[in-house]
Protein backbone atom coordinates (compact mmCIF):
# COMPACT_ATOMS: atom_id res chain seq x y z
CA UNK A 1 0.00 0.00 0.00
CA UNK A 2 1.50 3.29 -1.03
CA UNK A 3 0.72 6.54 0.68
CA UNK A 4 2.99 8.80 -1.32
CA UNK A 5 0.11 10.65 -2.89
CA UNK A 6 -0.58 12.74 0.19
CA UNK A 7 2.82 14.30 0.63
CA UNK A 8 4.30 17.60 -0.32
CA UNK A 9 7.56 17.91 -2.15
CA UNK A 10 9.87 17.64 0.88
CA UNK A 11 8.56 14.28 2.05
CA UNK A 12 7.99 13.00 -1.45
CA UNK A 13 11.80 12.93 -1.70
CA UNK A 14 11.93 10.74 1.43
CA UNK A 15 9.28 8.42 0.09
CA UNK A 16 11.09 7.94 -3.18
CA UNK A 17 14.52 7.30 -1.74
CA UNK A 18 13.56 4.96 1.06
CA UNK A 19 12.37 1.55 -0.11
CA UNK A 20 10.95 -1.53 1.57
CA UNK A 21 8.89 -2.13 4.68
CA UNK A 22 9.64 1.09 6.42
CA UNK A 23 7.94 3.13 3.71
CA UNK A 24 4.85 0.93 3.85
CA UNK A 25 4.51 1.25 7.62
CA UNK A 26 4.41 4.99 7.84
CA UNK A 27 5.40 8.02 5.87
CA UNK A 28 4.86 11.26 7.73
CA UNK A 29 2.54 13.55 5.88
CA UNK A 30 3.54 17.03 4.95
CA UNK A 31 0.59 18.69 6.70
CA UNK A 32 0.57 16.54 9.80
CA UNK A 33 2.35 18.99 12.05
CA UNK A 34 1.72 22.32 10.34
CA UNK A 35 1.48 25.32 12.64
CA UNK A 36 -0.39 27.40 10.04
CA UNK A 37 -4.04 26.41 10.72
CA UNK A 38 -3.71 27.25 14.41
CA UNK A 39 -1.74 30.41 13.70
CA UNK A 40 -4.22 31.66 11.09
CA UNK A 41 -7.15 30.92 13.40
CA UNK A 42 -5.49 32.81 16.24
CA UNK A 43 -4.63 35.73 13.95
CA UNK A 44 -8.22 35.82 12.67
CA UNK A 45 -9.46 36.18 16.22
CA UNK A 46 -6.96 38.99 16.83
CA UNK A 47 -7.98 40.70 13.58
CA UNK A 48 -11.70 40.57 14.38
CA UNK A 49 -11.03 41.99 17.84
CA UNK A 50 -8.97 44.75 16.22
CA UNK A 51 -11.72 45.41 13.68
CA UNK A 52 -14.22 45.79 16.50
CA UNK A 53 -11.91 48.13 18.42
CA UNK A 54 -11.26 50.26 15.34
CA UNK A 55 -14.92 50.54 14.31
CA UNK A 56 -16.03 51.32 17.83
CA UNK A 57 -13.29 53.96 18.10
CA UNK A 58 -11.92 52.38 21.28
CA UNK A 59 -8.19 52.19 20.59
CA UNK A 60 -7.95 52.79 16.86
CA UNK A 61 -4.14 52.41 16.35
CA UNK A 62 -4.06 49.20 18.37
CA UNK A 63 -7.03 47.88 16.39
CA UNK A 64 -5.33 48.65 13.09
CA UNK A 65 -2.13 47.03 14.32
CA UNK A 66 -4.05 43.87 15.22
CA UNK A 67 -5.57 43.74 11.75
CA UNK A 68 -2.11 44.26 10.27
CA UNK A 69 -0.81 41.28 12.25
CA UNK A 70 -3.40 39.10 10.51
CA UNK A 71 -2.21 40.33 7.12
CA UNK A 72 1.40 39.51 8.07
CA UNK A 73 0.46 35.97 9.11
CA UNK A 74 -1.53 35.47 5.91
CA UNK A 75 1.34 36.67 3.71
CA UNK A 76 3.74 34.41 5.61
CA UNK A 77 1.45 31.44 5.06
CA UNK A 78 1.01 32.12 1.37
CA UNK A 79 4.76 32.68 0.86
CA UNK A 80 5.81 29.47 2.59
CA UNK A 81 3.02 27.17 1.53
CA UNK A 82 1.68 27.94 -1.93
CA UNK A 83 4.75 26.44 -3.61
CA UNK A 84 3.55 22.98 -2.59
CA UNK A 85 -0.09 23.36 -3.54
CA UNK A 86 0.14 22.28 -7.16
CA UNK A 87 2.15 19.24 -6.14
CA UNK A 88 -0.28 18.27 -3.41
CA UNK A 89 -3.33 18.69 -5.63
CA UNK A 90 -1.86 16.75 -8.53
CA UNK A 91 -0.82 13.90 -6.24
CA UNK A 92 -4.19 13.88 -4.55
CA UNK A 93 -5.91 13.54 -7.90
CA UNK A 94 -3.50 11.23 -9.62
CA UNK A 95 -2.05 8.72 -7.24
CA UNK A 96 -4.89 7.14 -5.35
CA UNK A 97 -4.90 3.57 -6.62
CA UNK A 98 -8.16 1.97 -7.71
CA UNK A 99 -9.91 -0.14 -5.08
CA UNK A 100 -7.54 1.09 -2.43
CA UNK A 101 -8.35 -0.06 1.08
CA UNK A 102 -7.22 3.26 2.47
CA UNK A 103 -9.76 6.03 2.87
CA UNK A 104 -10.56 8.44 0.09
CA UNK A 105 -8.64 11.07 1.98
CA UNK A 106 -5.34 10.79 3.81
CA UNK A 107 -6.69 11.66 7.25
CA UNK A 108 -9.44 10.43 9.54
CA UNK A 109 -12.29 11.91 7.54
CA UNK A 110 -14.88 11.39 10.27
CA UNK A 111 -12.97 13.60 12.67
CA UNK A 112 -12.36 16.17 9.95
CA UNK A 113 -16.00 16.49 8.94
CA UNK A 114 -17.07 16.54 12.58
CA UNK A 115 -14.74 19.48 13.18
CA UNK A 116 -16.00 21.24 10.06
CA UNK A 117 -19.62 20.74 11.13
CA UNK A 118 -18.74 22.00 14.61
CA UNK A 119 -17.24 25.22 13.22
CA UNK A 120 -20.26 25.66 10.95
CA UNK A 121 -22.54 25.17 13.93
CA UNK A 122 -20.67 27.90 15.77
CA UNK A 123 -20.94 30.19 12.75
CA UNK A 124 -24.65 29.67 12.19
CA UNK A 125 -25.28 29.50 15.93
CA UNK A 126 -23.77 32.97 16.23
CA UNK A 127 -25.81 34.26 13.30
CA UNK A 128 -29.09 32.84 14.63
CA UNK A 129 -28.18 34.04 18.12
CA UNK A 130 -27.79 37.55 16.75
CA UNK A 131 -31.12 37.22 14.96
CA UNK A 132 -33.04 36.12 18.05
CA UNK A 133 -31.27 38.60 20.35
CA UNK A 134 -32.29 41.55 18.17
CA UNK A 135 -35.75 40.13 17.43
CA UNK A 136 -36.41 39.97 21.17
CA UNK A 137 -36.05 43.77 21.29
CA UNK A 138 -39.20 44.20 19.19
CA UNK A 139 -42.45 44.36 21.14
CA UNK A 140 -44.41 43.44 17.99
CA UNK A 141 -43.27 40.79 15.54
CA UNK A 142 -43.07 41.06 12.58
CA UNK A 143 -42.12 44.75 12.94
CA UNK A 144 -44.54 47.31 11.62
CA UNK A 145 -44.00 47.75 7.88
CA UNK A 146 -42.08 44.50 7.44
CA UNK A 147 -43.21 42.72 4.28
CA UNK A 148 -44.83 39.28 4.26
CA UNK A 149 -42.55 37.37 1.94
CA UNK A 150 -43.86 35.23 -0.88
CA UNK A 151 -42.61 31.70 -0.26
CA UNK A 152 -43.09 30.21 -3.73
CA UNK A 153 -39.39 30.14 -4.65
CA UNK A 154 -38.25 29.01 -1.17
CA UNK A 155 -40.71 26.11 -1.37
CA UNK A 156 -39.10 25.01 -4.62
CA UNK A 157 -35.67 25.44 -3.03
CA UNK A 158 -36.76 23.27 -0.08
CA UNK A 159 -38.00 20.60 -2.46
CA UNK A 160 -34.69 20.77 -4.33
CA UNK A 161 -32.66 20.29 -1.16
CA UNK A 162 -34.82 17.41 0.08
CA UNK A 163 -34.54 15.70 -3.31
CA UNK A 164 -30.79 16.23 -3.45
CA UNK A 165 -30.34 14.92 0.10
CA UNK A 166 -32.30 11.77 -0.70
CA UNK A 167 -30.42 11.36 -3.98
CA UNK A 168 -26.94 11.68 -2.49
CA UNK A 169 -27.89 9.30 0.32
CA UNK A 170 -29.01 6.83 -2.32
CA UNK A 171 -25.79 7.43 -4.31
CA UNK A 172 -23.57 6.77 -1.27
CA UNK A 173 -25.55 3.61 -0.57
CA UNK A 174 -25.04 2.48 -4.17
CA UNK A 175 -21.32 3.15 -3.84
CA UNK A 176 -21.14 1.03 -0.69
CA UNK A 177 -22.83 -1.76 -2.63
CA UNK A 178 -20.18 -1.42 -5.35
CA UNK A 179 -22.57 -0.08 -8.01
CA UNK A 180 -20.31 2.61 -9.41
CA UNK A 181 -22.45 3.62 -12.39
CA UNK A 182 -25.50 4.19 -10.21
CA UNK A 183 -23.32 6.10 -7.76
CA UNK A 184 -22.04 8.40 -10.50
CA UNK A 185 -25.58 8.99 -11.77
CA UNK A 186 -26.79 9.87 -8.27
CA UNK A 187 -23.82 12.13 -7.72
CA UNK A 188 -24.37 14.04 -10.94
CA UNK A 189 -28.11 14.27 -10.26
CA UNK A 190 -27.43 15.69 -6.81
CA UNK A 191 -25.06 18.28 -8.22
CA UNK A 192 -27.50 19.34 -10.93
CA UNK A 193 -30.33 19.66 -8.41
CA UNK A 194 -28.06 21.51 -5.97
CA UNK A 195 -26.97 23.92 -8.72
CA UNK A 196 -30.56 25.04 -9.14
CA UNK A 197 -30.61 26.29 -5.56
CA UNK A 198 -28.17 29.25 -5.92
CA UNK A 199 -29.61 29.98 -9.37
CA UNK A 200 -33.04 30.45 -7.81
CA UNK A 201 -31.69 32.37 -4.84
CA UNK A 202 -29.21 34.73 -6.47
CA UNK A 203 -30.81 34.80 -9.91
CA UNK A 204 -34.48 35.13 -9.02
CA UNK A 205 -35.30 35.58 -5.32
CA UNK A 206 -32.78 38.28 -4.42
CA UNK A 207 -33.24 40.35 -7.61
CA UNK A 208 -37.02 40.05 -7.24
CA UNK A 209 -36.90 41.39 -3.67
CA UNK A 210 -34.30 44.10 -4.26
CA UNK A 211 -35.31 45.42 -7.69
CA UNK A 212 -38.99 45.58 -6.75
CA UNK A 213 -38.14 47.32 -3.49
CA UNK A 214 -39.88 44.62 -1.43
CA UNK A 215 -36.89 43.97 0.80
CA UNK A 216 -33.35 45.32 0.64
CA UNK A 217 -30.39 45.10 3.01
CA UNK A 218 -31.31 48.62 4.10
CA UNK A 219 -34.89 47.66 5.07
CA UNK A 220 -34.19 47.71 8.78
CA UNK A 221 -33.47 44.63 10.81
CA UNK A 222 -35.65 42.27 8.74
CA UNK A 223 -33.83 43.18 5.52
CA UNK A 224 -30.36 43.10 7.02
CA UNK A 225 -30.89 39.77 8.79
CA UNK A 226 -32.57 38.25 5.75
CA UNK A 227 -29.72 39.00 3.36
CA UNK A 228 -27.04 38.17 5.94
CA UNK A 229 -28.49 34.76 6.81
CA UNK A 230 -29.50 33.72 3.31
CA UNK A 231 -26.20 35.07 1.94
CA UNK A 232 -24.08 33.04 4.36
CA UNK A 233 -26.18 29.97 3.65
CA UNK A 234 -26.04 30.49 -0.11
CA UNK A 235 -22.25 30.72 0.06
CA UNK A 236 -22.21 27.37 1.87
CA UNK A 237 -24.39 25.82 -0.82
CA UNK A 238 -21.91 27.02 -3.47
CA UNK A 239 -19.05 25.57 -1.40
CA UNK A 240 -20.93 22.25 -1.26
CA UNK A 241 -21.32 22.29 -5.05
CA UNK A 242 -17.59 22.92 -5.46
CA UNK A 243 -16.94 19.91 -3.23
CA UNK A 244 -19.31 17.83 -5.37
CA UNK A 245 -17.46 18.93 -8.52
CA UNK A 246 -14.28 17.67 -6.89
CA UNK A 247 -15.96 14.38 -5.98
CA UNK A 248 -17.29 13.94 -9.54
CA UNK A 249 -13.83 14.39 -11.04
CA UNK A 250 -12.38 11.81 -8.69
CA UNK A 251 -15.32 9.47 -9.27
CA UNK A 252 -14.62 9.48 -13.00
CA UNK A 253 -10.95 8.82 -12.26
CA UNK A 254 -12.05 5.60 -10.58
CA UNK A 255 -10.93 6.67 -7.12
CA UNK A 256 -14.02 5.53 -5.22
CA UNK A 257 -15.23 2.05 -4.54
CA UNK A 258 -17.21 0.02 -2.01
CA UNK A 259 -14.18 0.18 0.29
CA UNK A 260 -13.19 3.71 -0.48
CA UNK A 261 -15.97 6.24 0.10
CA UNK A 262 -14.84 8.40 3.01
CA UNK A 263 -14.64 11.69 1.13
CA UNK A 264 -17.98 11.10 -0.61
CA UNK A 265 -19.69 10.42 2.70
CA UNK A 266 -18.05 13.47 4.26
CA UNK A 267 -19.24 15.67 1.39
CA UNK A 268 -22.77 14.30 1.70
CA UNK A 269 -22.71 14.98 5.45
CA UNK A 270 -21.76 18.60 4.77
CA UNK A 271 -24.57 18.82 2.22
CA UNK A 272 -27.11 17.48 4.71
CA UNK A 273 -25.92 20.04 7.23
CA UNK A 274 -26.42 22.88 4.74
CA UNK A 275 -29.88 21.46 4.09
CA UNK A 276 -30.89 21.51 7.75
CA UNK A 277 -29.75 25.11 8.13
CA UNK A 278 -32.03 25.96 5.22
CA UNK A 279 -35.01 24.45 7.04
CA UNK A 280 -34.42 26.87 9.92
CA UNK A 281 -34.16 29.79 7.49
CA UNK A 282 -37.33 28.73 5.65
CA UNK A 283 -39.25 28.49 8.93
CA UNK A 284 -37.96 31.73 10.41
CA UNK A 285 -37.65 34.12 7.48
CA UNK A 286 -40.56 33.13 5.25
CA UNK A 287 -43.12 31.27 7.34
CA UNK A 288 -42.16 33.26 10.45
CA UNK A 289 -42.97 36.51 8.65
CA UNK A 290 -46.63 35.44 8.73
CA UNK A 291 -47.15 34.68 12.41
CA UNK A 292 -47.75 37.36 14.98
CA UNK A 293 -45.85 37.28 18.24
Amino acid sequence: MQRRWAQGSKLEHVAETVHGEEVEKHVPEYYEHSIWPALIAFATGIALTGLFMAFKGLIVPAGLLMMLSFAVVLIGFLYSDTRNWSSVVSKSFGRIPRDSIIGAFPVDINLTIQLIILTELLLFGGAFGMYFAIREQFTIWPPVGAPILDDFIPRIQTLILISSSVLIEWAVWQLKQGRITAFKAGLIGTTILGSLFPVLQFGFEWPHLILNGILTPATGFTGASFFLLTGIHGAHVVAGLMAYAFVIIRAFMGQYSAKNYGFVEATSTYWHFVHIIWLFLFALLWQGSRILG
Binding site: E169, W173, E265, H272, H275, I276, L284
Partner: protein
Protein backbone atom coordinates in the same frame (compact mmCIF):
# COMPACT_ATOMS: atom_id res chain seq x y z
CA UNK B 1 -25.72 8.19 16.04
CA UNK B 2 -23.04 7.37 13.48
CA UNK B 3 -21.89 9.89 10.90
CA UNK B 4 -23.48 7.77 8.17
CA UNK B 5 -26.87 8.14 9.88
CA UNK B 6 -26.76 11.92 9.62
CA UNK B 7 -28.43 11.83 6.21
CA UNK B 8 -31.40 9.84 7.53
CA UNK B 9 -31.69 12.25 10.45
CA UNK B 10 -31.75 15.29 8.15
CA UNK B 11 -34.14 13.74 5.62
CA UNK B 12 -36.70 12.95 8.33
CA UNK B 13 -36.33 16.42 9.82
CA UNK B 14 -36.83 17.90 6.37
CA UNK B 15 -39.83 15.74 5.57
CA UNK B 16 -41.54 16.82 8.80
CA UNK B 17 -40.64 20.51 8.58
CA UNK B 18 -41.21 20.92 4.85
CA UNK B 19 -44.30 18.71 4.88
CA UNK B 20 -45.81 20.91 7.57
CA UNK B 21 -44.62 24.31 6.40
CA UNK B 22 -44.34 23.89 2.65
CA UNK B 23 -47.39 21.87 1.71
CA UNK B 24 -50.93 23.27 1.68
CA UNK B 25 -52.60 23.31 5.10
CA UNK B 26 -55.37 20.79 5.72
CA UNK B 27 -57.70 21.89 8.50
CA UNK B 28 -59.55 19.36 10.59
CA UNK B 29 -61.99 20.84 13.10
CA UNK B 30 -59.87 22.94 15.51
CA UNK B 31 -56.57 21.57 14.41
CA UNK B 32 -54.49 21.63 11.26
CA UNK B 33 -53.38 18.23 10.06
CA UNK B 34 -49.62 18.03 9.89
CA UNK B 35 -48.62 16.04 6.85
CA UNK B 36 -45.11 15.88 8.29
CA UNK B 37 -46.36 13.52 10.98
CA UNK B 38 -47.27 10.80 8.51
CA UNK B 39 -43.75 9.24 8.50
CA UNK B 40 -43.85 8.63 12.28
CA UNK B 41 -44.32 4.88 11.80
CA UNK B 42 -41.15 4.75 9.71
CA UNK B 43 -39.20 5.09 12.95
CA UNK B 44 -39.64 1.31 13.17
CA UNK B 45 -37.61 0.95 9.97
CA UNK B 46 -35.04 3.72 10.23
CA UNK B 47 -34.40 3.75 13.97
CA UNK B 48 -33.02 6.45 16.20
CA UNK B 49 -31.92 8.84 13.40
CA UNK B 50 -35.58 9.02 12.36
CA UNK B 51 -36.70 9.64 15.97
CA UNK B 52 -34.28 12.54 16.35
CA UNK B 53 -34.97 13.85 12.84
CA UNK B 54 -38.74 13.98 13.27
CA UNK B 55 -38.34 15.64 16.67
CA UNK B 56 -36.08 18.32 15.22
CA UNK B 57 -38.41 18.69 12.24
CA UNK B 58 -41.31 19.41 14.56
CA UNK B 59 -39.27 22.00 16.43
CA UNK B 60 -38.38 23.72 13.15
CA UNK B 61 -41.99 23.61 11.96
CA UNK B 62 -43.12 25.21 15.22
CA UNK B 63 -40.66 28.05 14.62
CA UNK B 64 -42.61 28.91 11.50
CA UNK B 65 -46.10 28.22 12.79
CA UNK B 66 -46.43 28.93 16.47
CA UNK B 67 -45.86 32.02 18.52
CA UNK B 68 -46.83 30.78 21.99
CA UNK B 69 -43.86 29.41 23.96
CA UNK B 70 -45.86 26.44 25.25
CA UNK B 71 -46.13 25.11 21.69
CA UNK B 72 -42.38 24.50 21.74
CA UNK B 73 -42.92 21.73 24.29
CA UNK B 74 -44.69 19.68 21.61
CA UNK B 75 -41.45 18.14 20.26
CA UNK B 76 -40.74 16.74 23.75
CA UNK B 77 -44.03 14.81 23.76
CA UNK B 78 -43.53 13.74 20.15
CA UNK B 79 -40.07 12.49 21.08
CA UNK B 80 -41.54 10.33 23.85
CA UNK B 81 -44.18 9.02 21.46
CA UNK B 82 -41.59 8.24 18.79
CA UNK B 83 -39.49 6.42 21.37
CA UNK B 84 -42.56 4.27 22.07
CA UNK B 85 -42.67 3.31 18.38
CA UNK B 86 -38.93 2.70 18.37
CA UNK B 87 -38.87 0.44 21.42
CA UNK B 88 -41.92 -1.58 20.41
CA UNK B 89 -40.81 -2.02 16.79
CA UNK B 90 -39.76 -5.65 17.18
CA UNK B 91 -43.00 -6.63 18.92
CA UNK B 92 -45.72 -4.51 17.33
CA UNK B 93 -45.26 -1.30 15.40
CA UNK B 94 -49.01 -0.77 15.50
CA UNK B 95 -48.95 -0.78 19.32
CA UNK B 96 -46.18 1.82 19.22
CA UNK B 97 -48.23 3.95 16.82
CA UNK B 98 -51.23 3.79 19.14
CA UNK B 99 -49.03 4.80 22.06
CA UNK B 100 -47.80 7.72 19.94
CA UNK B 101 -51.37 8.78 19.16
CA UNK B 102 -52.31 8.64 22.87
CA UNK B 103 -49.26 10.58 24.07
CA UNK B 104 -49.40 13.33 21.45
CA UNK B 105 -53.22 13.44 21.48
CA UNK B 106 -53.29 14.03 25.23
CA UNK B 107 -50.71 16.76 24.93
CA UNK B 108 -52.51 18.52 22.09
CA UNK B 109 -55.77 18.33 24.06
CA UNK B 110 -54.08 20.27 26.84
CA UNK B 111 -52.12 22.65 24.64
CA UNK B 112 -54.67 23.66 22.02
CA UNK B 113 -57.07 25.51 24.40
CA UNK B 114 -54.08 27.44 25.78
CA UNK B 115 -52.75 28.45 22.36
CA UNK B 116 -56.21 29.10 20.95
CA UNK B 117 -58.55 30.20 23.77
CA UNK B 118 -61.56 30.12 21.43
CA UNK B 119 -61.26 26.30 21.29
CA UNK B 120 -62.95 24.36 24.11
CA UNK B 121 -61.15 21.48 25.83
CA UNK B 122 -63.57 18.85 24.53
CA UNK B 123 -63.39 20.19 21.00
CA UNK B 124 -59.59 20.24 21.22
CA UNK B 125 -59.47 16.66 22.50
CA UNK B 126 -61.73 15.30 19.78
CA UNK B 127 -59.93 17.08 16.97
CA UNK B 128 -56.47 16.29 18.32
CA UNK B 129 -57.08 12.57 18.71
CA UNK B 130 -58.87 12.34 15.37
CA UNK B 131 -56.10 14.23 13.57
CA UNK B 132 -53.35 12.17 15.16
CA UNK B 133 -55.20 8.95 14.41
CA UNK B 134 -55.67 9.81 10.73
CA UNK B 135 -52.09 10.93 10.09
CA UNK B 136 -50.38 8.15 12.03
CA UNK B 137 -52.54 5.36 10.62
CA UNK B 138 -52.00 6.63 7.07
CA UNK B 139 -48.28 6.54 7.86
CA UNK B 140 -48.58 3.06 9.34
CA UNK B 141 -50.16 1.75 6.13
CA UNK B 142 -47.32 3.31 4.12
CA UNK B 143 -44.90 1.73 6.57
CA UNK B 144 -46.39 -1.73 5.96
CA UNK B 145 -45.78 -1.32 2.24
CA UNK B 146 -42.22 -0.07 2.78
CA UNK B 147 -41.41 -2.78 5.32
CA UNK B 148 -42.07 -5.46 2.73
CA UNK B 149 -39.37 -4.12 0.45
CA UNK B 150 -36.86 -2.84 3.04
CA UNK B 151 -37.06 -5.69 5.56
CA UNK B 152 -38.38 -6.21 9.05
CA UNK B 153 -37.69 -3.73 11.90
CA UNK B 154 -34.34 -4.20 13.51
CA UNK B 155 -32.85 -5.84 10.44
CA UNK B 156 -32.11 -2.61 8.62
CA UNK B 157 -31.55 1.00 9.37
CA UNK B 158 -32.27 1.99 5.81
CA UNK B 159 -29.99 2.90 2.96
CA UNK B 160 -26.82 4.48 4.29
Amino acid sequence: MKLGDFGIFVIFAAVYAAGTLGLPKISFMAYQIRIGEIPSAFVALFGMPAVLGLTLGQFIANLGLESKPIAFLSPVFSFVGLLAIYYTRKMSTLAGCIAYIVITGLWLSVMLPIVRPEVSTSQAAISAFAEQFITVIVGYLAYLVAARSLGKPGQTSGPQ
